[in-house]
Amino acid sequence: MRWDFASVFDNTDALLVGAAGTLRIFAICLVLGLSLGLLVGLGRYSRNRWIHIPATIFVEFFRNTPVLVQILWFYFALPILLPFQISPLVAASLGISLNSAAFSAEIYRGGIQSIETGQWDGARALGMRWGQAMRRIILPQALKRMLPALTNRAIEIFKMSTLASAVAYVELLQQGKLIASLNYNPIEAYTAVAVIFFVFLWPLVQFSYFLERRLKRDE
């Protein structure tokens, strides 16, 4: 068996289109997932039952079902209840974003709870309201502690973006499939896709190790 990557390089354009698709869905899910996660995380922290209970159900449901099931549900099941079609990008983004929101909500909650009550008392003594204390005192300190875990979430989101290929969204793995089926070169095509993902993710993973070491040293 001879390896021949020429047939993969001939399709660089297709891979670039795929990489753009991967980066697009990654960016969408990163922004939506982490910001929605903050809302849900604060909701779980709330003393108001009407906020606290739905937030908890949301987190438990999305943490305890597989992302691929969520994506397929949004793609095949949800449109029946809606008067319009759902595109592969929307279905995959919904699944991955809501799943990431549930996981990051737990990171935010843990981070906020790890801040000593003295910080709250101090903020209150200076006359800050709850929202001000949260924004100016608690969150900035908590974010530093949460950074390694949030970076890991980002890495997970990047990896999860490949699941969008299951609903035929054009991203790197989907383009790898296409190249493999057109050129009968699955070995080279899938190896190339794996290498591209490794190249994208390796620096991010090293960065998360660095953050973890720094946090361990500082605390």
Binding site: V67, F198, W202
Partner: protein, 226 residues
């Protein structure tokens, strides 16, 4: 627009879904057994002072932790069989992928567990005349494993969620059965909802057990690693 929900066509196909769930548990169980065993081997190799052992182990762990599992699965299913000239069933491809993938995560759990044991335990074992492997087997691992249990259970639950990917290479797991039933009954909404709920119940129960075990370990004053 009021949609008429009707679960009866889905319930009529319950045997297909049950078979799918059994297959899901089969893949999960297989990958769990091989993943834990291989993970221990990888961890011990990575902790070895000999570089020609620790570097390859570190490489395997990093590659499988860094690349998406679906890409790995496609590589093992479509590329590897041509490379080594063997037939690969979807089950085999899934079992191999998820075993190695979860092994690379289990390896890091083992490593953290072993490294969390105080040096004094090694010194004590050595002082009563144990060799390195004896100390590891009799003194270090039994203590380390106890601290690793919560992280292990969490990983096992992640593994079960990951096995849904095997549906994309047409192995008849629960998610694949959902696809089949929804096409047969033209009831995707009910089918996918039921299947999502089945996954939720099984995984939620497993999570609750993991939570209880962690609480008990915490109460007995045992520290844990993640």
């Amino acid at each position: 627009m009021a949609y008429q929900w009707d679960f009866s066509p889905v319930l009529a196909n319950a045997p297909l879904l049950v078979e799918g769930l059994v297959n899901t548990l089969r893949v999960t169980g297989t990958a769990l057994v091989f993943g834990v065993a291989l993970g221990l081997v990888l961890a011990l190799l990575r902790l070895s002072p000999r570089r020609y052992l620790s570097w390859p182990a570190g490489f395997v762990i990093e590659v499988f932790r860094t690349t998406p599992p679906l890409v790995q699965l496609f590589w093992f299913f479509f590329a590897l069989p041509i490379l080594v000239g063997i037939e690969m069933t979807p089950f085999m491809a899934g079992a191999v992928t998820f075993s190695i993938q979860s092994a690379s995560f289990f390896a890091e759990v083992f490593r953290a567990g072993i490294q969390s044991i105080e040096r004094g335990q090694w010194d004590g074992a050595r002082a009563i005349g144990m060799r390195h492997d004896q100390a590891l087997r009799r003194i270090i691992l039994p203590q380390a494993v106890k601290r690793m249990i919560p992280a292990f259970m969490e990983r096992a639950i992640e593994l079960m969620k990951t096995t849904t990917l095997i549906a994309t290479i047409s192995y008849a797991d629960l998610l694949f059965a959902a696809n089949e039933v929804s096409q047969k009954t033209f009831r995707p909404l009910e089918t996918y909802t039921v299947v999502a709920l089945i996954y939720f119940v099984v995984i939620f129960l497993a999570s609750q057990v993991a939570r209880l075990v962690e609480l008990r370990l915490a109460r007995s004053g045992e520290s844990t690693v993640h």
